[in-house]
Amino acid sequence: MSVKIRFFARFRELLGSDIMTDVAAGTMFTPLITTVAKKNPEGYTAIFDEKGAFREFVILMKNGKRIEIADAAKTPVVDGDEIAVFPPVAGG
């Protein structure tokens, strides 16, 4: 099964966007993003701290709905999901 990962703003510049990736059944949100982010060390450190946890300002979404950082490790992803990871917004 495959999911789409979308990074925005600085995270997009470092890691790309609209990344289609195959995932195994039972894959959780946090390890999926960890694996993808590790493809670029600068991108990884922009999103994760030295302990491998999401930095507190990072915003996570699954299919357009917010996922709290505390819940991400136990949030499964399934075929067709759209995952978004981005820094604090700055519109207006």
Binding site: R6, F8, A9, R10, R12, E56, F57, V58, I59, M61, G64, R66, A84, F86, P87, P88, V89, A90, G91, G92
Partner: protein, 140 residues
Amino acid sequence: MISIQTDDVDIGALIIAAKKHGTGAVVVFDGVVRDDDITEMELEAYEDVATQELVKLATTATEQFRLLHVDIIHRIGRLAVGENILIIVVAAGHRGEAYAGSRFIIEAIKAGVPIWKKELTKDGGRWVTGEHGHGKPKTG
């Protein structure tokens, strides 16, 4: 009209269209690219989600402040200094509701709608830091 788009809009036409029966005040917020020693500004949005959130904001503001009309147009792409970034047009029966509704919408956009700005300079660029951490309103 609720839109995230690259093109500019005719604010005068929006004001005319906003004057529905019962309108006593129209408030226009026009956010523009400020000359902070930059060459251009680049704006990016999570378009589907941002548009949905703008629609929700317009609905909430309409109910909360008894607005008669709401337009929110947020531009994306590359914009020059002085260009319009965000246009909010609200109409209400009285000025208090119109001002309050407009203020509510701009503050909510800054707090939580997934849009980002990058200031482009002669030396490269810098992402504008959001005013609110983790997409939630700042307190205090």
